[in-house]
């Protein structure tokens, strides 16, 4: 599985430059939103956690349209690694390429922009990493569902976004609670549960979907 993971990660980052693309998209999207909202520090610090989460979700969508497309499915099906394990490796590679850089860097940027928010750093790191894991796993599911369809990217967004609402709500909720000095442990626990469930269940579901599609041909 480690070999498959490294192979996928190399393809996503080196061949397609996904890591730079998604991080750049995220930085630009945050800047655009800040321009649109205006430079008022009070408003910005109130909306920033929600903004970071929503834009992280959108940048997770970026690498999905070609997550499975262009992959040699026969290779995957015939490989010695089981298909669910390969799918899990794929989700983790996507997480490493798109989710984790943002999860590491975005809280640092927030702590620079919003004065007095340095204490939030651990909460935001943990929350963003956990929700990035759920987004990647759910995104894998969306990629498996739309595999072989005609209108890929838009359709994927349509499928994935409603499913990603729970991790989004709990993640942004934890960050906002931490910002207001309230207890953020409860939403964070829910978020961790969602991340565990989606990372463990989605690869199996994705593998089953792909197998059904291949055998029905």
């Amino acid at each position: 599985m480690m070999v498959v993971y490294r192979h996928f990660l190399r393809r996503m980052t080196r061949d397609r430059g996904l890591m730079g693309q998604s991080a750049g998209f995220f930085a630009l999207a945050v800047t655009v939103c800040v321009f649109a909202i205006g430079p008022d520090a009070v408003i910005l610090s109130a909306v920033l956690p929600g903004l970071v989460w929503a834009l992280q979700l959108l940048s997770a969508l970026l690498g999905l349209s070609d997550m499975l497309e262009g992959e040699d499915l026969d290779d995957l099906l015939l490989a010695r690694t089981s298909l669910p394990a390969a799918m899990c490796a794929k989700a983790l590679a996507h997480l490493t390429a798109t989710g984790l850089p943002i999860a590491v860097l975005a809280p640092l940027a927030v702590s620079l922009l919003v004065p007095g928010s340095a204490a939030l750093l651990p909460c935001m790191w943990l929350g963003l990493a956990l929700s990035a894991a759920s987004f990647s796993a759910i995104g894998l599911l969306g990629a498996a569902l739309t595999l072989g369809s005609r209108r890929n990217a838009a359709l994927q967004a349509l499928i994935i976004l409603p499913l990603c609402v729970p991790p989004l709500i709990f993640g942004a909720g934890a960050a906002s609670a931490a910002m207001l000095d309230q207890g953020w442990q409860a939403p964070m626990a829910f978020l961790a549960a969602i991340a565990c469930a989606s990372l463990t269940l989605c690869p199996f579901a994705a593998a089953w979907i792909i197998r059904m599609k291949v055998t029905s041909a």
């Binding site: 599911l141 569902l145 739309t146 072989g148 369809s149 005609r150 209108r151 359709l155 349509l158 499928i159 976004l161 409603p162 499913l163 609402v165 579901a205 089953w208 979907i209 059904m212 599609k213 029905s216 041909a217």
Partner: protein, 240 residues
Amino acid sequence: MITRFANPARFESLAKTLLPVLAAMATVLLAFGLVDALLLSPPDYQQSDAVRIMYIHVPSAWMAMFLYACCGGAALTFIVWKHTLAELFLRAALPVGACATAICLVTGMLWGQPMWGTWWVWDARLTSVLVLMFLYVAIIALTGAFDRPEHGSIAAAWLTLIGLVNLPVIKYSVEWWNTLHQPSSLTSLNRMANPALSGEMLRPLLIMGLGLTCYLLVVVIVRMRAEIIARRLNASRVQA
């Protein structure tokens, strides 16, 4: 039982006997229910006549969730047994369920404006029903997005199954979170002994719910038959 109705011809004969019965029931129940709900039942002591929106809003919400649950069952049946009729049901029922959800949302907004003073609040009940609407739209879009229709059915069935997690969230959203939307007036045990809704209001509500169920079942069965006929036409064209 499951394999018995896999045969479209057997379904056809069942549908032929069932359709007139259901259609008659729907007509009678909806006609009586509407008169009862709009004219005979008493106005609310706080909301006066605006409470009558309930007789459309609540049954359509029931239907939205009931149809989704049925679709979930059909999706499971299709995935596990490759049951053709389950696939037909899924394709036929999804747009109907989406319509019920849309009616529920629109009537809810029309009711919210005079009662809460706002068309929309981001409360857990409203938001989870909105997610249900998005799910319906996404599944319907997914069914039609493939060159091979069977791939569309597989994908739609899986997404339906995954989306089932939303149903308990909708049901319990009014209990888990503090919502502006009121909790259920019907379904809790201490409410049974001590009903929150008077019998004169409960009667038209239940009649409307039953009538709407019959009506939507009629629509779903008609759509399933149309799909069977369309497939036969397609098959004969391929053969010719």
